[in-house]
Symmetry: C2
Subunit: 109 residues, 2 copies
Amino acid sequence: MHKFKGKEYPCCTSLTMGIIGGKWKTVILYHLMEGTLRYNELRKEIPSVTERTLSLQLKNLETDGVIKRKVYTSKPPLKVEYSLTEFGKTLIPLIKSIADWGDYAVKNH
Amino acid sequence: MHKFKGKEYPCCTSLTMGIIGGKWKTVILYHLMEGTLRYNELRKEIPSVTERTLSLQLKNLETDGVIKRKVYTSKPPLKVEYSLTEFGKTLIPLIKSIADWGDYAVKNH
DNA sequence: CCGTATCCTTTTCGATACTG
DNA sequence: CAGTATCGAAAAGGATACGG
């Protein structure tokens, strides 16, 4: 049994999937791998996600310490940037492997 | 846009997650990495999954061509073995990476 | 031994309208 | 610009009983 942020997982793979699993989280991380993006830039990169869902998933990723959110309040319009934390950056090789296998699967079926 | 087995995915990571995503599929694959297992052996390895869910997820994995199911009908009691297909074996490095990152995350928080 | 059937709860995701 | 509120649908998963 493995613990992370108060949640328990029966397997080390479950723990990883608890953090990056679901329909959108790997997609978000995939786009943040290259660098910082604003909320609307993420929406543009992932047009099929709704505002609500994007917002929720960003919050989940932030709660797990994988991404960080920086707000620039100096003057409207509001500017919010999302980027990987140092901890989140340790996921980059994994996200790349996930993306690569996806490409491979498309080509080989 | 990427296609696999009739389903469409907006990103190559989504495709991978469509196949190995969810609460249980990586756990099942993790245990099948080492070799063939019978249904009840899988239940023993993953005590927290219910029969119904295990059954459904095995079917999903089989449909996507990742695992194969072999039935020995010669004489009761029934014997059913699950193992990775050749295609499924291409997932092994990825499953290992997922497991390794889970271990890493536990240790570093 | 290896599941399926039934019913139910929880989680996730989507559509749309609206706000500081 | 960057979200939240509300409502609802769908998918995933769980509990338990039963069947070939």
